[in-house]
Symmetry: C2
Subunit: 344 residues, 2 copies
DNA sequence: GTACGCTTGGAGAGCGCTCTCACGAGCTGC
DNA sequence: GCAGCTCGTGAGAGCGCTCTCCAAGCGTAC
């Protein structure tokens, strides 16, 4: 709804005594305009309190100055994912310096059509996609209609050539596992994430890399859904299936645990505790993400810090560059860091 | 950016052998159109894979089908606030059934102009404002240019007549305090929130209502900033300023604590513990919000559940109604519920 | 004095859609 | 049989802006 009395370009032109074209040039900083004309236009703009109508501008220029941040519906749980919030913050921060506006799109996975139509309907100049699953086909067949930047390596082969920003999950997971191994632990188990998400796959792969390198037991793995509850359950399964090898103790068949995200780690530690196992004494635990709450757990969680805000900033900057037609490398890797706290 | 080859209304009309007006009518389900014409148009739309251009539609109809969700920058910290995520989820859920699209706007508080210009620039049909401060003047002077729904009672007198959805913070706080009093506690202290936010003000007022009703000590109050850290600090101040009245013990001058949000409650409990005080044994604690993590604290936090998702849904439904010109009551109050868990 | 280039600004044709208005065709009722 | 309907449709005028011409004015070079 446009408040009726809104001043238009035309009115500013009349007020300033120049043509519409000139006002447009001044407002957009285009081409060369005589200083007096510029001054006259600015004065008129101020006097009328003129605000350009973005819609009309979009129609004429075929740009919208809007970018979409797409979150899969299943992940809108996502909002429950502490990882998501800082990403949005990063996006918002990066966008604040531009003229772009953020469109938050919760994509229905059962109706990829809707998302695709929206993206193709000339509503946005580009899109940011976070935490998508391999089963999600909303972004196929978009061709090169729209610049898209993925947060996290896209799984689908057809999307492989797309731009993305990610942390090196595999390498980070391997390092975390090696850290555990290096601190004297012998049997390092893992609770992996969903295997239809790159973060789930890559972190498991990294753990396996490290285990295989020392000839360890790669069967010490269970899967969770990146939720606290599922982490607790996975820990129980691990405990049940790998009891202590020695004479009937309350111990476990592993002495360290690499967990693919902090939420699951929190659940696992709780489950361990209920079985009488303390961290780090009995079982060292390393998580992944360094969520906001990680430092305030008891004991504070040792984890791999993933700079989520930077990820958001980086994705956004990349997208803005793509929109303005610049070339850019397809993958951008953001470094991670192991944060040593109480659990390992 | 509109992919060049995009089919237009005109092309559909030609394909279907009717006029643009007829296609428009069919696409928008307007008026009466002969069945054969409808069929012909549908066929043409399908054949050409036509998607209406929202921008052009907006320009002509002066509606955008976009609503803004405005988050103050200082609160974009907000994204760090666990309360925020479910609200967004509620908004997204309510919007999924409509044709509206969500625009996430992080409002710079130092430049209210920017937000106001955006709102007045014909970019959105309405706005949702969450967690605004009294110092924020972005929404003044908008007059009735735009329907706005606030999440939480607006503080500014000028905004009082605006629509808002809120929980009855004052009543809920009073009830929680009375519950503490009713469970045998004698001296109930409080950690209040910022006094420039309605939630902060009202929850403190509710606590005071209850304390005054029993002739208690209303000086047992400290303020925090709704963060965990500030909650811990406030608890320390409370402890220092109100030591146990009896002979030098490690106890405190209060035996219960009503904290204005869960994050501060978590910090306070931690601080209490470091001073050797356990909850609920030494000090009963009741929080507010029932954040996602509240149940998983140790012990699980007793708190006032604030249905954040419902709040989001409710705000959205109200706004959509306002946009379509319906009348609606200015305030909508969502009920809260005390969730009894381990700390009180 | 002519030719040419550069700067500056205006005219006007869209961008793709909505929506009012008017018109013809087929009804009804008297 | 004609006024007065309703119903379905098309023509066309915008919505507010951008951007491509094109023209005018002025300075410079030969």
């Amino acid at each position: 709804m446009i408040p009726s009395g809104n001043p238009t370009l035309e009115m500013v032109a009349a007020e300033a005594g120049v043509s519409r074209a000139t006002v447009s040039r001044v407002v957009n900083g285009h081409a060369s305009v005589a200083p007096e004309a510029v001054a006259a236009v600015h004065a008129a703009v101020a006097r009328l309190n003129y605000v350009p109508n973005r819609v009309a501008r979009s129609l004429a220029s075929r740009r919208t100055d809007v970018i979409a941040l797409i979150v899969p519906e299943s992940t809108s749980t996502v909002f429950a994912d502490p990882f998501f919030a800082p990403v949005v913050r990063g996006v918002a921060r990066a966008l604040a310096e531009t003229d772009f506006t953020l469109n938050l799109l919760v994509a229905s996975e059962t109706r990829p059509e809707k998302t695709r139509r929206y993206l193709l309907g000339g509503n946005v100049d580009g899109a940011l996609v976070v935490s998508h699953h391999s089963g999600d086909h909303s972004y196929l067949g978009l061709g090169d209609a729209l610049p898209i930047v993925f947060g996290g390596r896209p799984l689908n082969p057809e999307l492989e050539s797309r731009h993305y920003v990610d942390v090196d999950n595999r390498h980070a997971a391997r390092s975390a596992t090696e850290y555990l191994l290096g601190s004297g632990r012998r049997r390092v188990a893992t609770i992996a994430g969903p295997q239809d998400m790159p973060a789930g796959i890559d972190r498991l792969a990294g753990w396996r890399d490290a285990i295989e390198a020392v000839g360890g037991d790669v069967s010490l793995a269970e899967h969770g859904a990146f939720t606290q509850q599922s982490g607790a359950e996975a820990a129980i399964r691990l405990l049940d299936q790998h009891p202590a090898s020695g004479t009937g103790s309350t111990g476990a068949g592993f002495d360290a645990l690499f967990v693919a995200n902090d939420q699951m780690a929190a659940g696992a530690i709780q489950a361990l505790r209920m079985r009488g196992l303390a961290s780090p004494t009995d079982i060292a635990v390393v998580g992944f993400d360094d969520d906001a709450f990680a430092a305030t757990l008891d004991p504070p969680l040792t984890t791999v810090r993933q700079p989520a805000t930077e990820l958001g900033v980086s994705m956004t900057e990349l997208l803005v560059r793509l929109i303005s037609g610049e070339e850019a490398p397809h993958r951008t890797i953001i470094p991670t860091e192991l944060v040593r706290r109480g659990t390992a």
